[in-house]
Symmetry: C2
């Protein structure tokens, strides 16, 4: 069984990696680079250069081409994932049997990242792997640090979601703090009376943050976002939305439609 | 204006701190220890010993006594917070004007931690501070790493809440993944058909994890939890609950009662 270490390297700063991740990197013989288009690959290269003190190999596994004119979208995506897993399985099979393999993942592998699902597919294809995961800092953490914010109101809940969910489904009742990731379409604009705490390319030299009512700074953030993409070549942003009038402390109150605990203990 | 650095040191492991946090610790002249009862103080001491290479002072600021027979609970808590902030302000005033101050916070200062709110109170009392925050890994991250789990279903949302909220308000509609922190009363027991991914004292030598249906492992987790507290002296646990039948991908569907974006863009 081959050993594969999936290592979270944090959201962008060279210093936002943990000691545990650095130690894990120093046990890896072969780093697999699962490239994504526009992936900010150079952070990984810089981290290897800065933190690894032993010989290692880097194997790039480019994404297979996607069918751009799919007749059945779901089927096309499934075939693409399958092809991707096959390429990774081949790359793994080509390594010495006793080599420790590693994958560096931006942020934390546990949130809005496909690496662990792809590795699951690779295993389903018959590659026996002993996988361990080293947690990484999320952009959520650096966002709140940059804004000196506590995510939750006193005793309150925090909802973490995507721009698409926010646009399509809105915010659940009773939630006064929402963290949004993966939002290319600035869904915050739909909530003009909420307060926005926004950050892009956090922890890098190009970090930009803004905070204020959406009605006041929303358009500026849209502009900053596209300027950053143009100037730096990529943009990774995340934001926190706070309800217009967050009463503190938030009294948790039963809301119809919630899944209820069965009985009292 | 005095400089105060609030430094997240991760959820328990000596190696779960970031390089940025270690570098920040090495700029601090005076560490303020805001002690809590049962606080696992020794991690902070061990981190100072392991990671700091320059002279520093540690100033312990014990919690003021709480009135145990309050006539008005809210008022008592407010007075206690005020008294606590006063003690911290006094301790800060006693330091040299150019000393860099630091506070080490378990996990991340941004989630279910009172440090940033207390510092806000200290500022309200008239202490001028230049505060910066260094993000730390949360127990959420180490929990999911230990279980090799991705928090979100494909495109799905994640709800982060407290045991009390879970017990009192349940789970919002449409949410298939819930992370619970601060749950001394094992509120997961109210959701027997959900799947539990539980971890305690994560990243330490005493780490315990369990996963399975609540109906199957719930009672064992209750037992493990109290055994751990008895044996080690403290227990810090967190868990992920997954909906009984998480369809993947989760189709985001509008749910009545949600705050809706205003208009379409």
């Amino acid at each position: 069984m081959r050993r594969l270490r999936v290592i979270g390297i944090g959201p962008g700063g060279i210093d936002q990696i943990t000691i545990a991740a650095v130690e894990a990197m120093n046990t890896v013989d072969v780093f697999l680079l699962l490239d994504k288009p526009n992936g900010p690959r150079d952070l990984r290269a810089r981290m290897l250069e800065r933190y690894v003190d032993r010989p290692y190999t880097v194997v790039a596994i480019p994404d297979p081409p996607r069918d751009r004119t799919p007749s059945d979208y779901t089927d096309t995506v499934a075939r693409w994932h399958h092809r991707r897993a096959e390429l990774i399985a081949e790359a793994i099979a080509a390594q010495p049997a006793d080599a420790v393999l590693g994958i560096l993942v931006w942020g934390d592998p546990a949130i809005y990242d496909s690496t662990l699902r792809i590795i699951g597919l690779v295993e389903q294809l018959g590659t026996l792997l002993e996988v361990d995961v080293i947690a990484g800092l999320m952009s959520i953490n650096t966002l709140t640090a940059a804004h000196r914010q506590v995510l939750n109101s006193v005793g309150g809940a925090v909802h973490v979601t995507t721009g698409r969910n926010l646009r399509d489904s809105g915010i659940p009742p009773g939630v006064d703090a929402v963290v949004v990731m993966l939002d290319a379409h600035c869904a915050f604009l739909g909530f003009p009376d909420w307060t926005l705490f926004w950050g892009a390319n956090l922890g890098t030299a190009d970090e930009v943050i803004r905070s204020g009512p959406v009605a006041g700074i929303g358009d500026e953030v849209v502009r900053l976002r596209s300027e950053l993409r143009e100037r730096v070549g990529w943009v990774m942003d995340t934001y926190l939305l706070r309800a217009p009038d967050p009463a503190e402390p938030v009294a948790p109150s039963p809301v119809p439609g919630f899944a209820r605990p069965e009985g009292e203990r």
